[in-house]
């Protein structure tokens, strides 16, 4: 037994909408028996795309969130959505990257990730920065930049993260519906804003 959302319009209280009688062909085609136990008919290319792009998607989310665990949660959600989508395989990389960036930015904006992010970042940082004071400074710097990232216009933030995750200008342009020429401008603005945040922080020490 399955529940399916289905939208239909009939005139009802909307007298000016012309009434069309009879179920649509599209609906008839959808009327297939469903079983609760049937696994999701995931797209056949899912595993291939997953193995190819999962590290990228985690990387995109991790740049935003600063935590691999949180980034992997986001990546799982993104691939779950992707598994049910009809996004063409050749557009998957861009689609997945933007989805990861958006989802991670939203999470960042909501602030819910903060605790886990800082905790994990602290652990990761320990491995590369030997000096405790340096670690503290670096963590604070990252926290500030991520706060600034969350305040950027969404498109700027996404373009920035995608670019720093290794997508080409053409890929960023296609994924964000930007003209290729404006990708550089968008990324530049974002970097300028974040850099100012870093300087402001440094000068206030």
């Amino acid at each position: 037994m399955e529940l399916v959302q289905h939208g239909r319009t009939a005139p009802g209280a909307a007298p000016s909408v012309p009434k069309t009688v009879g179920a649509s062909t599209a609906w008839e085609e959808r009327r297939v028996p469903l079983r609760r136990t049937t696994p999701v008919a995931a797209r056949p290319d899912l595993e291939q795309v997953f193995r190819r792009d999962y590290p990228l998607v985690v990387g995109v989310a991790a740049r935003v969130l600063g935590s691999r665990d949180a980034a992997e949660d986001v990546a799982q959600d993104v691939f779950l959505s992707f598994s049910r989508s009809a996004v063409p395989a050749d557009e998957a990389r861009g689609w997945l990257s933007v989805a990861a960036a958006h989802t991670a930015l939203n999470a960042l904006r909501s602030g819910r990730r903060r605790a886990v992010r800082e905790e994990t970042a602290a652990t990761a940082e320990d491995a590369v920065v030997s000096d405790v004071a340096d670690t503290v400074v670096a963590l604070e710097e990252r926290r500030r930049v991520r706060a600034a990232l969350a305040r950027l216009p969404h498109k700027q933030a996404v373009a920035l993260v995608l670019r720093h995750s290794g997508l080409s200008y053409a890929e960023v342009a296609a994924a964000l519906d930007l003209s290729p020429g404006s990708v550089g401008t968008t990324v530049r603005r974002a970097e300028s804003t974040l850099r100012k945040e870093l300087i402001r922080h440094a000068s206030s020490d």
Binding site: R36, V40, W95, E191
Partner: protein
Amino acid sequence: MRHPTEGVLRRLLDEPAGVSTTDRAHVTDCSQCLQLVADARRDATAVGVVLATGGSEQVDLAAAWQRLSSATAATPTAVPVAVPRSARWRPALQRPAVAALAFAVVLTGAGTAAANDWLPIFRTEQVAPLSITTADLVALPDLSAYGDLGLGAEPQVRSVPDAARAEELTGLDVPEVDQLPSGVTGEPIHQVIGELSATFTFSAERAAAAAAASGEALPPPPAGLDGGSVRLDAGPGAAQIWTSSSGAPALIVGRAAAPTAFSSGVPFEQVRDYLLSLPGLPDDVAAQLRTFTADGSVLPLPVPADQVRTSTAEVDGTSATVLETRNGALAAVLWVDEGVVTAVAGSLDVDEVLAVARGLG
């Protein structure tokens, strides 16, 4: 001589081959541009350092794939859901942000369907994030595995110029948002969808086939159930959609007439209880569903528990259901009041959607 834009200079750092020969030649001889390139490099490097992931990409791919496989396998096939054939879903799904937000909105739609005095019976644990249209505010379940489901009319969502026109077309009071959450600006798009109606006629034969397909026998239907019908009406509805700077919906405020059910010949509760007994429905869900009454006091929601947290809150004296995706990216609140369901959803946190909900005029 014309200087290249800052965007071109920025690209020069990453993809010099993507910059025209003319611009490259110019930069080589232009101290002003060289300085800007140096500035851009400094900023890019500094930001690159703080955005570095410290090897986050070194993931355990096998474990991650296992996790995803479990998640997809645990998901019932809610996938045949609404719309895949419609032209409206493809553009929506090609925008990832929309796919994410659609999750909340489809939930909202499902909540509408399940609201009020109808269909506590049919509850899924999962909802596929498939579409993000106003049509989902007015949604009905596909029961075609268990009988004939006849639908009344073509789906049609219309954009209208303003709230006044939406009110005129739907007869609903279109709620007015007094204060938009931070980050949401501008004027909304108004959409309306008319009433929809579906008639479900139970078929013992069809249900037996569905049961057999899941490897179990169909419990004997009570007398009079075979051929009995229920009619479900929902809508009309109206939605206001604010988009973010990226073009993805940031906030959706929807209102629709809550669904109502009518039965012919066989008591609705009898249909419900029988369907509850069919193979495939987990015992705990069935037990929970049995507590639902037909008086509209309960708002059962098809909530995917592994992805969404639910809670309750009060909105203007009415108990509302709050949904929040596990990753905190999306939140929705919906409530039914006097036969009208209202929903507020967006890429916001719970406090923000509640603030919008409580501020609706």
